[in-house]
């Protein structure tokens, strides 16, 4: 058994061999490159759903605007002050840094958890695309509380789209990624143009004199749709902060920032989050208000921009699902001995497609995004403690590397224990990650100190 695990660990290392060494100085990238890199990010299919949900959850206009401004600022600061400094100092991906800390066994568990979460996210994206096609051919909309599919037609569309997306991911991920990059600016234009074209339907006059009045009474009027929880300023602030939690506090974006010349390049994430997680969310909110707060991204886009809008929703789903399927495949590759790349992608695609048939994942997207970040957050906290706190306490770093441990049980215990505490913590789901991050940092420091 131990031999088998060692074999898997060796295979996993081989997959990531290219990234094993810290980035050389000659490969570092300047500020301009980072500004461009993030500019195209964060405009995806999820934006059609998230912005619309804020309207359905009855956020008031001022709460939304101030909440998003503050929440996105906190997210940018998290990238700049937490993620980028560790990446710049180590010049390693999270994979290799975590391997030094937790050992290959810990990495395997992290990879499998990551793959499962990626598959659910990709499934939700396929569901969003399915709503566009379902609406175009006249299938009834999916009610907000749905868990299971409401018609056989919906299942057929989800399976057809899932199969198509999987096939494309198998045939050529890299060429398609390049095309996805081309789609990104156009999709942003779709959000903005869709919202502008919707304004007359809401009653906004051409001189914009009643714009604020319409927005605060017909769009974000502070009244939740019956059966939906009321959101306010703090929920919005925390949502904008944690919706990329796995990337900044969870440190996944070490993979990007290890190329940065300076840690302050983290501020360039603002070029992505403010257009995507501010403007695009506001635009989708305007569009959903014009269709009677019905959660059907396809209908929202069709009413605003016709067939081009439907195409945008399908493309947005695909461009998000494609890299997500790829990442899931890459993560799961480490525990599937001798499987070729196409076979892994096929299996991930099959699981993702099955999940896409369940509308619950996109109808509960806000909660899922919160859980996604929460589950991976303790790993970032462990790395933070190991990097910044343990050296100051004189505790040995990198058990996985120096003592060749297969699995750092303290790290695993902190991960599981933190999630258990998060489960029972008596506060809103959106807020739980913050105290849990401090708990994880404190618990890991304590356990390592005791084992000194």
């Amino acid at each position: 058994m131990a031999g088998k695990f060692a074999d898997l660990a060796a295979r996993m290392d081989q997959l990531n061999e290219f990234d094993r060494e810290p980035i050389a100085d000659s490969h570092l990238q300047g500020a301009g490159r980072f500004a461009g890199l993030f500019a195209g990010e964060h405009v995806a299919a999820t934006e059609f759903v998230i912005g619309a949900f804020f309207v359905i959850h009855g956020v008031a206009a001022k709460d939304l605007i101030y909440g998003l401004l503050l929440g996105n600022l906190l997210a940018v600061l998290s990238w700049t002050l937490v993620c980028a400094p560790i990446a710049v100092r180590t010049r390693l991906t999270l994979y290799w840094y975590l391997r030094k800390i937790g050992g290959p066994g810990f990495m395997m568990i992290y990879n499998v958890a990551n793959a499962a979460l990626y598959c659910i996210l990709a499934g939700a994206m396929i569901s969003v695309s399915a709503t566009a096609l379902a609406d175009l051919i006249g299938l009834p909309g999916t009610p907000l509380g749905s868990i299971l599919p409401t018609s056989a037609g919906w299942v057929a569309i989800a399976i057809a789209l899932g199969a198509a997306f999987t096939l494309m991911a198998i045939l050529g991920f890299e060429a398609l990624s390049k095309f996805a990059g081309i789609c990104s600016p156009w999709m942003f234009a779709v959000f903005v143009a869709g919202a502008i074209a919707t304004l007359p339907k809401l009653g906004v006059s051409a001189d914009l004199s009643n714009l604020w009045e319409i927005l605060s009474t017909k769009v974000w009027n502070g009244q939740a749709t019956p059966g939906q929880e009321q959101y306010g300023f703090w929920q919005i602030t925390f949502f904008a902060w944690f919706c990329n939690l796995a990337m900044h506090i969870g440190l996944s974006d070490m993979a990007l920032f290890r190329f940065a010349k300076k840690p302050w390049y983290g501020v360039f994430t603002a070029t992505g989050v403010y257009p995507g997680h501010f403007l695009a969310w506001l635009c989708s909110g305007v569009m959903v208000a014009a269709v009677g707060r019905e959660m059907t991204p396809g209908k929202m886009a069709y009413e605003a921009l016709g067939v081009a809008g439907v195409l945008a929703v399908i493309l947005a789903g695909w461009t998000t699902a494609n890299p997500t399927l790829y990442r899931a495949g890459l993560a799961i590759q480490s525990v599937t001995p001798n499987w070729p790349r196409w076979k892994i992608t096929l299996w991930c695609g099959a699981v993702t497609t099955a999940l896409a048939c369940l509308p619950v994942f996109f109808l509960k997207l806000l909660d899922y995004v919160a859980l996604y970040g929460l589950i991976l957050m303790p790993v970032g906290a462990i790395v933070f403690a190991e990097h910044w706190i343990l050296p100051r306490l004189g505790v040995d770093k990198y058990l996985g590397e120096t003592r060749k441990v297969f699995l750092n049980w303290r790290a695993l215990a902190v991960w599981i224990g933190t999630l258990a505490i998060a489960w029972v913590l008596p506060m809103h789901l959106f807020y739980r990650w913050l105290p849990c991050w401090f708990i994880a940092v404190g618990a890991y420091t304590l356990l390592r100190r005791m084992g000194k």
Binding site: F179, I182, P185, V192, G194, I196, L199, P200
Partner: protein, 55 residues
């Protein structure tokens, strides 16, 4: 040549935004707006794809 395609792509994108603003301002009927938006979108994909994939 690459620069020309990039310029064309950006112009198409601006065309998408302009048509929606013109529709909002009441100077374009809905059918014309949707047609213009669709054509500008096709223009964007053709020009931007050419620009991105050309060596």
């Amino acid at each position: 040549m690459k620069t020309a395609f990039l310029a064309a792509a950006i112009l198409c994108l601006l065309g998408c935004l302009w048509s929606s603003w013109a529709y909002f301002a009441g100077s374009l009927p809905r059918e014309v707006f949707l047609r213009q938006f669709g054509l500008a979108s096709v223009g964007w994909f053709v020009a931007a794809t050419w620009w991105a994939y050309r060596k």
